[in-house]
Structure formats: C-alpha cells, structure tokens
Amino acid sequence: MQAWRIDVLAQPDQLDPIGDAARRTLTAAGLTGVSSVRSRRGYLLAAELTREQVDAFAEGVLCDPVIECFTVHAPGAASPRPEGACVLTIVPKPGVTDPVAHSVQKALADMQLPVVAAGTYRTYDVYGEISTGDLLSVAGKGLANETVQQILLDELPEGLPGESPPPDLTVHQVPLHGLDEDALVAISNDGGLALDGHEMRAIQAHFDGLDRAPTRLELETLAQTWSEHCKHKTLTGTVRFEGRTIDNLLKSTIADVTRKLDRDFCVSVFVDNAGIIKFDDEDSVCIKVETHNRPSAIEPFGGAGTGVGGVIRDVLGTGLAARPIANTDVFCFAPPDLPQGKLPQGCLHPMTVMQGVVSGVRDYGNPMGIPTVNGSVHFDENFVGNPLVYVGNVGILPTKRAHKQPNPGDKIVALGGRTGRDGIHGATFSSLELNSESESLSGGAVQIGDPITERRAMDAVLACADEDLFSAITDCGAGGFSSAVGEMAEGTGAVVQLEQAPLKYEGLAPWEIWISEAQERMVLAVPPEKLERLLEVCEAECCEAVVLGTFTDDNRLVVKHRDDVHCDMDLAFLHDGLPSRVLEASYEAPPLSEPALQPESDYAQALRDVLADYGVCSKEWIVRQYDHEVQAASAGKPLCGIREDGPADAAVLAPKLDSTRGVVLSNGLNPRYSRIDPASMAECALDEAMRNLVASGGDPDYTVVLDNYCWGNTRDPQCLGELVRATEALCDLATHYRTPFVSGKDSLHNEFRATLDDGGEATIRIPGCILVTAMSVIADVRRTTTSDLKRAGSQLVLVGVTKDELGGSVYYKTKGELGKNAPRVDKDAAHAVLRGVYQAIQTGCVLSAHDLSEGGVMAAAAEMAIGGKLGIDVDVSRLVVEGELDATKRLFSESQSRLLLEVGKDDLDALSASLGDAPHAVVGEVTAAAVLRYRAGATTLAELELGDAEAAWKRPLDVDGTLLEEVN
C-alpha cells in the first residue's frame, strides 16, 4: 500500500548525536572509511491524506521547528539519495510492534486530521569511502536486527503493509489414534510443540478415551501448559541420584526449606506469581526473578526489554495487584573482546549482545518509571551461544490484598495491549536447545515491547485494585491467554470467546490468538456487578479492556471463536495429566589440581589485572543508563562515594515516602566456581548475596531469598547430578541462615549446538549457575552504610577467616588457571559474621563496609578507596587465617563470609563487642594520601596511586570512552 513518506532531519548546522552514534557503531563493527553519518527519522502516512494535510502535520507535530527540517515524498515517488551518500534505511518487519506509529495516529486525531494507517522508519546517510556490501553486513550487527527489522539500501520503504489475508477459522482436528511414538514425536516437532514421546502418548491416550481427536488449539494448549517453561517438569520430576530416589526435587529441597523454617513474615510463597512477605503492619513486599535467555540470544534488545516487561507484569499480577517499586538485572555474557574468529556461526557477538541487552532493559525499565537499583554482570566464554538475562522485580501491596480467587460467574477481562502474531511459541521455544539456525527460524518467538502500553495497564490495574474491583488477576506471559486463563480457571472452569480479543491486525487464526505472547496484557476475574465500574476506570486510564468470557464451575476449559468450539477440555487433565519424569543423575568431581605458580613478582600489576577483569571492573557505563532514582525511594544507590563512582553492595530503598522503613536488595552469582564444584557455586551465591545485603545494612534475620537456575542439558546424568549437588548445598546453607526461599525459576537446556569449520558439531554448555537474590526488610534506612571510605585515620577491620581458597578465583583466571580449591562456606562461622556485622552497623560505629568477593581483600580495599578517594595501608600479615598462607593467597583468596569494615579508632572496642564470636582483626588504616599500599609486616608488596588503580578498574567497560575523563 503506497504511502506518504516524511523525512525529518537536523538542520545542516545542527549537531546530530544519533548520526554520530551510528558512525561510531559502524566503525566499531569493522566498517572502514566512514567519514560521517547523518540520521533521519521517517514516517509513513497512508495515501488518502492530502499534500496540505501532510505538510501541516509534519510542520506542526513531526518536526522540531527549532533545530530540524523535513521533506515530504509523495506516494510512489522515487527515493531521493543525497549526493555522495549511501542511504541505509531500517524498517520494522510487518507485524513487529511499532509503538511510535500509534502515537502518530493519536497526534493526527488531536490535530483533527483523518486517522490513517501510519508507520515509521529510520534512515542513515552514510558518507565516506565505503563498500556497500560491507555496509549492509555491518549494519546488521549494530544498527539493526534482521530478526525484526528490514534493512534497505538506497531506497525508502515503498509503503505500509497491505490488508492481511482472511484468517483460517476452521476447527482443525489432529488425529493421533493409532500413531506410534515416532509419528507422535514428528507431530510435536513439526508443530514446534516441544512435547516428548512420553507426553504425546499421554495425550493420545486421553483423547482415545474420549473417542475423538484433539483439535489443533487443544494440542497447542497442552503444549504451552506442559512446557518446561510453565511446568518445570525436570525439577518437579523424580530423580535417582547416588542410590537415592528424590521425588519432586523442587518440593523436597527448596520448598522444604521454606516449609521447615516456617518464618512468620512469609505471607504467600510458591503459590503466586511472586513471593510475598510482610513489610509493616499494613503492607507487604513481593519479589520475583526470572530469566529471558532464549529471546535475548536471538534479539538482545527486544528479548531483554520484554523480559523486564514480563517480570513487571508478574509482580503487578501478584495477589490482587502489587505496585512495582524496583528492578534488578543480572547478566552473563561471553567476554566482549572475543575475537570474531572465535565466534561460532549463528551467534551474535557478545559486544552486540551486551549493548542490545543493556539498551533493551533501559528502554523498557526507564519508561515504566521503575528504578533499576541492583544487578551484576558476569563473563565466561561458554555464554557465547546462551547469554543469560535475569530480570527481577519487587512490588508493594496492602497485605489484605495478598490472596486471590476467581469465582464462578466472574467475567474474564483482558486488558492492556492488543493481540498480534508476535511471540507465538515462546514458551515451547524456550525449552529447546539453540543452534546455528535458531536465529533465522525462531524470529516469531521474539517480541518488541511497548512500555507505555504496559504503564497504562499498570495504572489501570492499580486504580481498579484500590477500588477492589476484581477477585483475581494474572499476567499474560509464556503461553499467552492459554496459560493465563488456563491457570486461573484451575478449580473452576472457563468459557472464552476469542473473537472478543482486540487484535493488532486482522488475519489471526483462533489458535494464534489463544497462544500469542503479545506483550503488555493482563487477565482479571471481575464479579459481574463490578464490571461496569472496572471498564470505566480502564477507560479513564486510557487502557483498553474487554470481556473475553466467563469463569464457570464445571472444571472445563471451553474456547470458542463465535459459535465454533475450538477446545473443550477437562482442566484436571490439562493440569494434572502430565506424566511424571524419572531422571537419572550422577556426579563425579572433575580431575583438577592447584596450579604451581611462580611467586608473584609485581603485585601492583596483579592488582591492575584483577581490577580490569570484566567481572570485577566498573559497571558504571551500564548503571548510568538505568534510571535508579525514579519513585524517589533510593536511600542507597548503585554507585556510591564522593563522586558516585564506587561500587555499592546492595540497594537500599524506602518505598513509602513518608516512612524510613526500608528494603535492602542484593544478589550473588559466581559461574566460575561451578567449573570446579557446583556445591561451592551454590553456597557462595547465597553467601555473597547475604554479605552484600549485610554490608549495606540488611538484617540477616529478616531476609528471604530467591533461587534462579540456569543450567545445561539435564538429560545428561552428570549435568543433572551437578544440579542436585548444587541444590542440596544451597538448601543446607539456607536452612542454617534461616532464610526461606520465596520464589524461584529455572531455565534448562542452555546449550548451543555450534557448527564447526570442518562441518562437525560441538556443544557449548553454560556453567550451571544459580543466581541467589536476597531481600531484607529493615526498620530504618538511616542505619545503613556504603562501601566508600569516609575518613582518613580510621581503621580497617577484616571480619572472617582467610583460607587457601583460590580455586576459580579471578587471580588464578588472570594467570590462565582454574585451580581446585574452590571456596566453601563454614556455616557456623558464617552466621556469626553476618549477625555480628549487622549488629555493628546498627550501633552506628561502622563508617563503611564492603564484601570480599572476586579479587579478595586486595580488590575490596581498592574499591573502597576508589569510592572514598582516600588511600589505604593494609598489612596482610594481620589477617585471621587458616593454615599457612603466603602473601599472594592472603591478598587474593576468595574465602567466603568475609567483610572489610571501616571504623573510627575510638570505636574499635564497641565494634569488637558487636562482632562477638566472629573472627576479626585490624588489618590497616585509611590514609589521606590517595595511595594504595599493601604490605606484609615491614615488606611493601605493592604501592600505587589511587588514580592508577581506578583507571585499570574503569577502562574495560568504558564503552563510550567517558568514564576515564573523571580519573585524575
């Protein structure tokens, strides 16, 4: 369909930051000869507008009159090309969400112009001596993603997508009767259902018993509901391990810890979208973390953004709606300097992935008005095909709204975004292994988000919740309506009329409407007498809401399109018909040994190398792109110190503006220890989360934790054995810390089948990792602390015992070694340390506190100095140690349960009293001169300027080249 094309660009004498950024991106992606780039914003408006209308709209709305100008191209006119430029135009593919187009239509209406079809594009005029072939290939790496966008060279888009072909409304039967397992599996594979032979047989038997074939929509519903993503069938299956049979791994380990601890502050755990705990007498806080790995591997920007959007909806749909107050994000990537030659075919380069993920989180979280307050980033070569994107959200809700139950007769109301063909088969796709073809084949599973639509839905839901207008709510996530309605209807029943669902465009078959994972949608159960008011409130909040059906009392799921019945299934079979799995697990420790290293000859350089490790270095480039201040709750920020560039251990929030009661939020993750011992990895994740939390003022006795697994192929017994070993270690420690798990999630099969140059295949498996997120409720945010040094002359006290535990350490990594002695946690000593440090911070004598993790005491002390812009003098001979340790081990050991505290000289006795049984020693002091000095008794090990260390720490992820401007 031909259309008007309007180009808006900066006036010739004005700067063009978007064009400049594109030039940097193209150059960084390896294109040579680019001299300059000018950008244009493009708009498409349907041809029925007149020239006068288009001109008036462009002048009044599209163009900024102060610094921009515009040109209008008539429908069908040739695409102009500026002299000497290659013109690169990027257009969303048909069906991909284009939020700006909707705003264009709104502005047309506001100007009282005809509201016609609209679209957008982005154009770059690239000047210089460049090859167009190279330009096209690098554009796909940095400026566009061909999964969701089309790249045009030297032409503008022809027009807007035409009318969709009419939808296929037939009720399709899928005969299964008499088929053997191979044929059943073939049906599953061809349909992208991710059901195995065992499961297909159960479905066959069920429908044989009914003497009919399932419909396509019924089969799709089963595939969504039974997906690994929705049912966690591995972790809830039966596992045989080391002569034991573990029935329902999740229930007998993680959930069992919570059950046995029975903490009184737990309000609702493992039953809702998020775990809920008491905040004060009136309100509770809830928290959820999940992963969005697969979509982020294929389309990092859209994948990460919709991951954030999804977890926000989880919290919004917790209880009878919680208000989201904070985001937390943890990423795992391959090193961003990975040589192109080492990049497996079909993988995006880790730098592209990282930039896409960071901007995806930014462009969803910021517009939602939810601060991103905490996170971390980890690097390992094996994340190359499966980057990990953990997204978490915290919400607050009145405790009386913590429980929900739809009643027969309640209306099923869908609100928020419209349904489109985006995200079909996301739930089942996330259960499959990625390979070199995933990028091109799975595009439909990836979505682009529209945060403002979600914000409207959030405003509407919270307004309705305040008026008590619904009896249950959930979000549309994986599986779309099929999962949302199917879950809510469990125990009641539902009849759905699919033709009521508002669509983004015509042409969707009923099964597509039913399982579409289009974003920004919520499903509510609304008592009939409250329906009118609810629709009124939604209207006032500019949020579309429709009645999709009714909850019934017959425990059947009936899905219709007009009069055709596409599904009529027993909900008991849908929810309980999934055959249980029996899995074999075994564990054998890898053959490893401690390295025989040369004695360290240059400790200053060793420190620089450790600080420059991607896992250790400053993440300021990422942090600053996220809004961490919106909602005005921040009392402990992600960056601290007199120039706000020191690393914070945890976030401190005071979510109620008229109260100083607070929440402390932290996380722990260390994939590298997993290469030695998954039990160490799991324990250290929990200990690190607790150290971070306590270092910032969190109360270890009022803390809950979340477990988020990312693992390889658990059909491999060793891989599953590692998971069981990790889980048991984690549960042991959590029981000891008395920290209940309140929510968790798993992402399995994180493996990439890479095609090798010789045509063979290799499997790249991620190191199994558990992210532990910890959340504490505290009485007063004014009794918290930060990691930056505050005063010259104060003492540095190291709490905890240093051991020969450098296995998996950053120091060994900088020497190209892994080692064997991964850190383990001494449970009793650890608990004393956490409690002691908390008590000390409560007395007010602790000026700063920092946890010891990657890089040991040498890195931790340097980080505290960077924040405070002061010097340190640390004597490693004074550490409390176990066994004989040389200076190198003392400096770089990553033994757990250790924290470094800054205390005034006069407060040492008070500190010791608070620390009680926790082993501790004064190991140095803070100096006014900005010099880092490390020594062993009288022998100086290293002495370097603070700026020297700071530059090493800031340089690696200084992607924009701006962080170092601040270092003197």
Binding site: Q14, P99, K106, A540, D627
Partner: protein, 266 residues
C-alpha cells in the same frame, strides 16, 4: 489558613507523579492528581488550582520526540487556557519530561504573552539516557519563587535534555533577559558545557528556564528526587560531618518556595 492547591498532571507515560505529589504535600500544599483525559474534558478544573505541575516521565513514550504528543494534545484541546492560568496568577512547574512538554507547548520560555516554540530540548550529545547527580546554580532570573544564587545537587535522568535555541544570540538573550534560571556548574561553581558536570552538552550549561512573568519554571534535573535528606547521595557523609541529617534534601527548596509564594498570594 487554607493550603495552596497543586494540580499534579497525570498522562500515559508520566511516571514521577507520586513523588511530585508527596513533595508538594510536604511543602504544605494540598495536591491532587488530575489525569489529562479528565482535564481535557473539564478544562475549568484549572480554576481550582494555584499550582500546575507536569511531572517527569515518558509521556506517550516520548514518541516522535520527548513531550511532543502530550504538548500537542494540550495545545490542540486546551489552547490558551494554560496561558490564562499563568496570567491570572497561577504558578507552573515542569520537571524533566514536564519541562519538555512545557517547552513544546510554547509556555517556556514564552518570551511574550503568547505560546510559541522558540527553544528545544533534544538528544544528549552522548545519544543515550543517563542518570547522574549534577550540581546546579540558580541565576538572577525572572522566576518569582526560585531563590537566586543557590547551589544545589539534584539528579538528572534524561536522554533528551540538551537545551538548544535557533542560534547563539537567542541563547545569550535568554541569559541576559532573565529567562535562564538554572545552570549546570563545575567543581568551582562556574557554568559548564563539559561532561559529566553537564550531562547533555547544553550550550552555556542551561538546565532550566522561566517565562516572561516568572511564574513558570522548567528544569531538566529532578528536585522531586532530592527533597528528602536520604535522597542525597552523600547523606551518610553529611550525617557524619554534622552529627545529624538536615531536615530537607536539596530539591525541597523549589516546592517550599512555590508553595510559600502561592500562600502569600492567596
């Protein structure tokens, strides 16, 4: 005494309404949320308020350009009512996206008594959103409530905050004629164009504007995220040095002074 009334505007994508509401309440105003939809249906609502505040956020996703769609909607449907609100003694505050909206609407700097777009807030030179605390100094300006010559720290959090005029002469005129109310300053207290003290590259470091009669203020950085003592990034150091926390954070001055003027005029 009756408390001055503040209208806190809501709209799809505005997301700082809660803290703005709370800050005005804390300053002694009676504040009320009004959704743009309701305001457009009942423009006379404006008559009930002494203060109009357009909070920060991403109104309508900042689609097309920041603040454009909301400003367009207000221009088309409220017309000169906003101008009359200011003329009859109302006060207005636009923070971040709210500032962008007031600029697109032509209410800032509003050199004469008519709505006209004469400046713009456009993409940061870094070409991305950035959240960082900045130091600001207020100038001798026409603004009737912002004290002159005070130095404050507020967080900036925006991707389109570079204040541009058609040419250098019109920018200089904004300073000379008292329209430029706030500037980014460096460690020595001098107005700066250098990153990171000036996070967006605005020429002459202009961070906020007032209008011809000084009753409207627009600022890019956020007083609504710095009005409590624990909002300040260095509150622990302050507590250590002074032995106690001050009553307010640096942003509170805007709300207090606005409410004070509104109360005095009531």
């Amino acid at each position: 005494m009756k408390r001055p009334t503040a209208l806190i505007l809501r709209a799809p994508g505005i997301n700082c309404e809660r803290e703005t509401h709370h800050a005005f309440e804390r300053a002694g105003a009676a504040s009320e949320y009004v959704h743009i939809k309701r305001l457009l249906e009942h423009p006379d609502l404006l008559d009930d308020f002494q203060i109009l505040s357009v909070p920060g956020g991403f109104s309508y996703g900042d689609d097309i350009s920041s603040g454009r769609v909301l400003a367009q909607e207000m221009k088309a449907k409220l017309g000169d009512r906003i101008l009359r609100f200011v003329d009859r003694g109302g006060l207005a505050l636009g923070i971040c996206n709210g500032f962008q909206v007031l600029v697109r609407l032509g209410l800032l700097p509003c050199l004469h008594d008519e709505l006209a777009e004469s400046v713009t807030l456009t993409h940061n030179l870094s070409n991305h959103y950035e959240c960082r605390w900045v130091t600001l100094k207020t100038r001798a300006s026409r603004c009737v409530f912002l004290p002159e010559g005070i130095t404050v720290r507020w967080p900036a959090a925006h991707g389109e905050g570079r204040l541009m005029t058609r040419d250098a002469a019109s920018l200089q005129a904004l300073l000379d004629d008292g329209f430029a109310a706030v500037q980014y300053v460096d460690d020595k207290g001098a107005a700066t164009e250098s990153y990171p003290a000036n996070p967006n590259g605005a020429p002459l470091g202009v961070a906020g504007l007032t209008n011809h009669n000084g009753r409207v203020l627009g600022v890019m950085p956020h007083p609504d995220r710095s009005y409590l003592p624990t909002h300040m990034p260095e509150w622990r150091r302050t507590q250590l040095e002074r032995g106690a926390l001050p009553e307010d954070g640096d942003g509170m001055v805007v709300f207090r002074e606005m409410v004070k003027v509104a109360a005095a005029e009531a």
